[in-house]
């Protein structure tokens, strides 16, 4: 038996909004430690890595690990039935073929439950070893969203080059080219949320498909800041931490010239 209650259904909604365009079906792996999700898009270009720790839930009980294979478009539709201030409870029996989502309004006057059929999705786990990156950039998430939106007007590949002085996003297309440089915040009076920091060991330059990066920025509502980690020749990591709950990170394999 698995049961987890989240005070804010809206949080889960936002997570789903961020990933549903990248992956169609995914397994939510529920274990005593929490809920995690790993999935790649069809073209195997991006990897989504979501972790929701059990202590972030209002209540959480999971006797044995289970995998809930869900169609994300269906789940997203169900979540649309929840109001933002509703609480959400996920329930599944062991060996079940459905999962139940219960939404309760804050004043308890409205309770709705939805059952979604589980899918059998081949499960592959990808272990991610976190180690040091050449550049770790922390910036306001809205800023990244805007950069992606602005550059998408011109091109479909973004070149990101980072060094101590700043991080430059550039693109070029048939109609022209554009560069946006973000410098680290020096003014200490600015709140940590709104400031940019760059921890650069060595300069690094990588190309990425702007399309995917733009998809990632759909996670902007989850967190005021975003962390990007880059090293030459490896996928970029774009991480949104979810306060008190866990994180949602995206890996994107670089494009060659």
């Amino acid at each position: 038996m698995f049961e987890a209650r989240l005070t804010q259904a809206s949080m889960f909604k936002k997570i789903l909004e961020a990933i549903k365009d990248l992956v169609e079906n995914a397994n939510f792996d529920c274990s005593p430690a929490g809920i995690s999700l790993q999935a790649m898009d069809n073209a195997h270009v991006t990897l989504i890595n979501l972790l929701l720790r059990q202590d972030g839930f209002e209540t959480y009980s999971c006797d044995r690990s289970l995998s809930l294979g869900l169609s994300l478009p269906s789940l997203s539709k169900v979540l649309k039935c929840a109001n933002n201030d509703d609480s959400m409870t996920i329930k599944a029996r062991d060996e079940a073929d459905t999962v139940t989502f219960v939404f309760e309004s804050s004043k308890q006057e409205r309770i709705s439950d939805f059952e979604i059929k589980l899918l059998d999705i081949g499960n592959e786990q990808y272990g991610i070893r976190d180690s040091e990156y050449s550049a770790v950039i922390k910036m306001p998430s809205a800023e990244l969203q805007r950069i992606c939106r602005d550059l998408s007007i011109l091109g479909d590949v973004v070149t990101i080059s980072a060094d101590k002085a700043g991080v430059k996003f550039s693109t070029s297309g048939d109609s022209g080219s554009g560069n946006i440089t973000v410098r680290p915040t020096t003014d200490s009076s600015i709140a940590a949320e709104d400031s940019t920091t760059i921890d650069s060991k060595e300069p690094v330059t990588l190309n990425f498909a702007l399309k995917f990066l733009s998809f990632f920025t759909k996670a902007t509502p989850l967190s005021p800041t975003v962390t990007m980690k880059m090293s030459d020749g490896v996928p970029i990591v774009v991480e949104y931490s979810i306060e008190d709950l866990g994180y949602l990170s995206f890996f994107l394999a670089p494009k060659l010239e």
């Binding site: 073209a43 060991k201 490896v234 394999a253 010239e257």
Partner: protein, 929 residues
């Protein structure tokens, strides 16, 4: 097309991964001893006359080699990563060019021998490399970066090569671990790859080609020509000591080759002499279905095995070789994974079910282009552009290298998996089905290696174009059954599985011929591999196939067809001293009516299309015309449009205006009468082995002539020339096409799907067809595809309307041209290309040639006849307010240099020609009886 970031992340199947990684890291590099082995094996490959001793030695070495190969893998991956990393950072475009075109290769999925490693090996090779490859050296310093495996391919072909030199690996622990390089400063995420078990155990690709040669026990050991050619790309440099260097060379070599091939059609058909052919066949006969196979017993057959076979087939034009290649694949499948045999057969004939099931692939080009663009990270424009020069989307898919790297390489494709997705795609309907199809195709393409993409795209297009006829598939299947019969597989599962030993070629050929005849006949009675194959792959399957595979009501068979003749005398020559009968040849649609024991009635066309939905009236009539006690039958007949009030036969054209699907009984405006002429099956008993006069008797006894529902085909047992001539005239006057002449007693069994000389047809067309040629003007053209890449493949022709002074389209033409003419016309007409359709051209919106020409030439064209057409505009409004006249089956004759475009045949002449045809009844599909 593959690349993956294997080195970045850990793919784990269980929790053991991390602990297993660490000891491996120290042995990334391989040894010189490996290189030596390599050299040995390559020399063997290259020198045909090497003694088998050496080969055996090689085989002995394999145990050792295996371990070394593993090391090698690890090394290569890491090294490769460096290289790519260097490319990314230095943005060297030329490097990328090489990468981008080199052919995709499959993932290394070698099971790992769980033997202890010798860490001592690590440095030797690396040092060497540094000396020899300065470019790479640059990067060895900061090569801590494990990197994007864009070119895992290198690694992969590398590992294949190494594995190729060994017999299939007897793996104990199927865990593969690849580590990224560890250097002094371990900056970057290091990685272990533990692919899933399934993933691992399938050995892939080139393995077998090489191992074929290596494991050959024979002293001669000639390398098969095609295989050699295939290998060349990988093998030619093998003598070079430095393995990586060699890869590099290959990449370059490949680049050049592919670039050249862009404008030539890729497969170069070999013209070999009879002697060479014999030699190749001898070599192919040495194939060992177990050790030469690319996968192991019980595992799903990798799609690569089929793709490789397709490549070999496409590489030759010799039917015997084609059959032999396929035979060998079938033998392996029967010995190792018999469950995949049916799917493999369907894939070989590019079907996804029995042909009467109506399931078809034939995906539109734009969906495929989108999928190719998405899976390779290229733009649609780029692919469209490329398509103009290459002409084959499959080749583009194969040669488009990804600019986008991947997180993880997907597991290799299996025949089962591909077949399943093909079926899903074919079954998909509804609004978002296009997108879903595209997604599924993208998914398939992402997993493709080497030529897999080529054949997947072509399969999806519905045209494999490798010169593999269904008949060859049947022969190959039979051969495989005879050479490696299931009984033999059961008794010695690891043997050579070859019954040819100890038989002379002639003896064996006669056994094969007899078996092929049986299987072909069995298939023609039961054209369904799902039913046929299980009955065939049992002990004595071939011997009993005709008993086990009988005609079944509900399963349509291809109808027997007649040979055309030019006149009555020809018929008499053929049927000297035989009893024969003449039948009216009705001008309708061939229909095969089935009634099964459970009362289900279905109707199929001669192409086995299910037309049950088109003829609810026939179904309703069946009850009226069957005799008492008839519980099941298969009736061969002609469905003809019929005017019940005047009891008159109507023309085919009227029949073809009936809607095709979902006709409801009360909406029928054009009634149909069935003209029955043969009965194949009655009450559970097949009649096709009975002589025709008997079948006819049974037909007359069990089916009642019912006005407007069923009529026996009118016949006369006459043999005098004059009688026949009169009878023919009578048939034509009765709105029939002509006469069918059939043997009555001897040689008169029903032979499904055969165009038999025991049935002859005399058609009015053959006797007095369209004798006048037409002079027309080419006004537009379509780019050629496949063989016709680079020239215009089809032209749009128009006649001249002197009243309105404009050109009206008459037909599209693509036949009658020689290759030289195609080239010549392309050159002549290219200067005449104009940007858009001229306003003097009257063209339907449905016709969109790729280019338009100024009117400049007149061509003489001969056609079978003329028909009313909704597409073409010749004389539009004269006979039908919205429809014009079109030429049917036009053939190019010559250029009329003496004529100007305005001297072309006029629209009014076309109208006259149309009117001069005796009955204007033309068949769209059913050209032959």
């Amino acid at each position: 097309m593959q690349s993956s970031m294997l080195s970045f992340l850990t793919k784990k199947t269980d929790s053991t991964s991390a602990s297993q990684t660490s000891p491996k890291k120290q042995q990334q590099t391989s040894t010189t001893s490996k290189d030596d082995d390599k050299k040995k094996s390559s020399t063997t490959n290259n020198n045909n006359d090497k003694s088998s001793k050496l080969k055996r030695k090689n085989r002995d070495d394999e145990q050792v080699e295996e371990e070394e190969e593993e090391d090698n893998d690890i090394f290569d991956l890491s090294d490769d990563d460096h290289k790519v990393a260097s490319q990314v950072s230095s943005s060297s475009s030329s490097n990328f060019e090489e990468k981008s075109i080199s052919p995709p290769t499959p993932t290394p999925t070698k099971p790992k021998k769980a033997a202890p490693k010798k860490p001592a090996k690590s440095t030797t090779k690396k040092t060497k490399k540094m000396e020899e490859d300065p470019k790479k050296n640059n990067n060895n310093n900061n090569s801590t970066i494990p990197a994007v495996g864009t070119n895992n391919n290198n690694t992969m072909s590398d590992s294949q090569e190494s594995s190729a030199s060994s017999t299939p690996i007897k793996s104990t622990s199927p865990i593969k671990q690849t580590t990224s390089p560890t250097k002094k400063d371990n900056l970057i995420p290091t990685v272990t790859v533990l692919p899933t078990k399934k993933n691992l155990e399938t050995t892939t690709s080139t393995t077998s080609t090489t191992s074929t040669t290596t494991t050959k026990s024979n002293d001669e050991n000639e390398i098969l020509e095609e295989e050699e050619e295939l290998e060349e790309e990988e093998d030619e440099e093998e003598v070079i000591e430095e393995e990586f260097e060699e890869e590099e060379e290959n990449e370059k070599g490949e680049t050049v080759v592919l670039k050249k091939k862009i404008f030539v059609k890729k497969p170069v058909k070999q013209k070999s002499t009879a002697k060479q052919l014999e030699q190749e066949l001898t070599n192919l006969s040495k194939y060992h279905p177990i050790t030469d196979a690319q996968w192991k017993k019980g595992l799903p057959v990798p799609y690569m095995a089929l793709a490789k076979t397709f490549e070999l087939i496409e590489g030759t034009s010799r039917r015997l070789l084609i059959i032999e290649h396929l035979t060998n694949l079938f033998r392996s499948i029967m010995a190792l994974t018999p469950g995949d045999l049916i799917n493999t057969i369907y894939m070989s004939i590019n079907k996804i079910g029995p042909s009467y099931g109506g399931k078809e692939l034939g995906i539109g080009e734009s969906i495929l282009m989108k999928a190719v663009a998405e899976s390779t990270g290229r733009t649609m424009e780029f692919i469209k552009q490329e398509l103009k020069t290459v002409g084959d989307l499959g080749i583009i898919a194969q040669s488009s290298r990804m600019t986008q790297t991947m997180m993880f390489a997907p597991p290799p494709l299996t025949i089962q998996g591909v077949f399943k997705i093909f079926s899903q795609i074919a079954d998909m309907t509804g609004n978002s089905s296009q997108n879903k199809k595209k997604d599924l195709i993208t998914k398939l393409l992402v997993s493709c290696k080497e030529s897999e993409a080529l054949y997947i795209i072509r399969s999806l297009q519905g045209k494999l174009r490798i010169g593999l006829a269904e008949r060859s598939v049947l022969i190959a299947l039979t051969r495989a059954m005879v050479i490696s019969p299931p009984a033999l597989i059961a008794s010695e599962p690891n043997g050579k599985l070859d019954t040819r030993k100890g038989k002379t070629t002639e003896e064996f050929a006669s056994v094969i011929d007899a078996a092929v005849a049986k299987v072909t006949r069995a298939y023609s009675q039961l054209p369904n591999y799902d039913l046929l194959v299980p009955r065939l792959i049992v002990a004595d399957g071939v011997d009993t196939i005709l008993e086990t595979c009988r005609l079944m009501a509900g399963i349509p068979v291809k109808p027997m067809l007649a040979q055309p003749t030019t006149g009555i005398t020809q018929v008499l020559d053929r049927f000297q001293e035989m009893e024969f009968t003449c039948e009216f040849k009705y001008d309708g649609e061939r229909a095969q009516i089935h009634l099964t024991e459970d009362g289900k009635i279905s109707i199929y066309t001669r192409n086995l299309e299910d037309y049950t939905g088109k003829y609810p009236d026939i179904i309703a009539n069946v009850k009226r015309f069957i005799g008492e006690g008839v519980t099941s039958f298969i009736l061969d007949c002609e469905a003809v449009a019929y005017d019940p009030t005047n009891n008159k036969i109507l023309s085919f054209q009227i029949l073809s205006s009936r809607p095709r699907k979902g006709v409801s009984l009360d909406q029928i405006k054009i009634p149909v009468c069935v003209f029955a002429f043969d009965l194949l099956y009655l009450n559970g008993k097949s009649l096709i082995d009975e002589p025709f006069y008997k079948r006819r008797e049974v037909l007359y006894a069990n089916f009642k002539e019912t006005p407007g529902a069923l009529t026996y085909a009118k016949h006369a047992n006459i043999s005098d020339v004059n009688d026949i001539q009169l009878y023919l005239q009578e048939a034509i006057d009765g709105n029939c096409e002509g006469l069918m002449v059939k043997t009555l007693k001897e040689q008169s069994i029903y032979e499904p799907s055969k165009r038999s000389y025991n049935w002859l047809k005399i058609k009015k067309d053959y006797m007095a067809g369209m004798t006048d040629s037409v002079d027309v003007v080419p006004i537009g053209a379509w780019y050629g595809k496949g063989k016709r890449t680079g020239v215009y493949g089809a032209y749009l022709l128009a006649c001249y309307d002197d009243d309105n002074e404009d050109f009206q389209t008459l037909c599209k033409i693509g036949t009658g041209f020689s290759d030289e003419q195609l080239k010549e016309f392309t050159e002549i007409l290219a200067p005449q290309v104009t940007n858009s359709c001229k306003n003097t051209y009257i063209v339907s919106d449905n016709l969109k040639p790729d280019v338009w020409f100024n009117p400049s030439q007149v061509w003489e064209v001969l056609a079978a006849d003329l028909s009313i057409s909704p597409i073409h505009t010749a004389a539009v409004g004269v006979l039908d307010p919205n429809k014009g006249i079109a030429l049917r089956f036009p053939r190019f004759i010559q250029i009329r240099k003496d004529k100007n475009p305005e001297d072309a045949t006029t629209a009014s002449q076309i109208v006259d020609m149309y009117k001069n045809q005796k009955i204007n009844s033309f068949k769209m599909v059913d050209e032959d009886y």
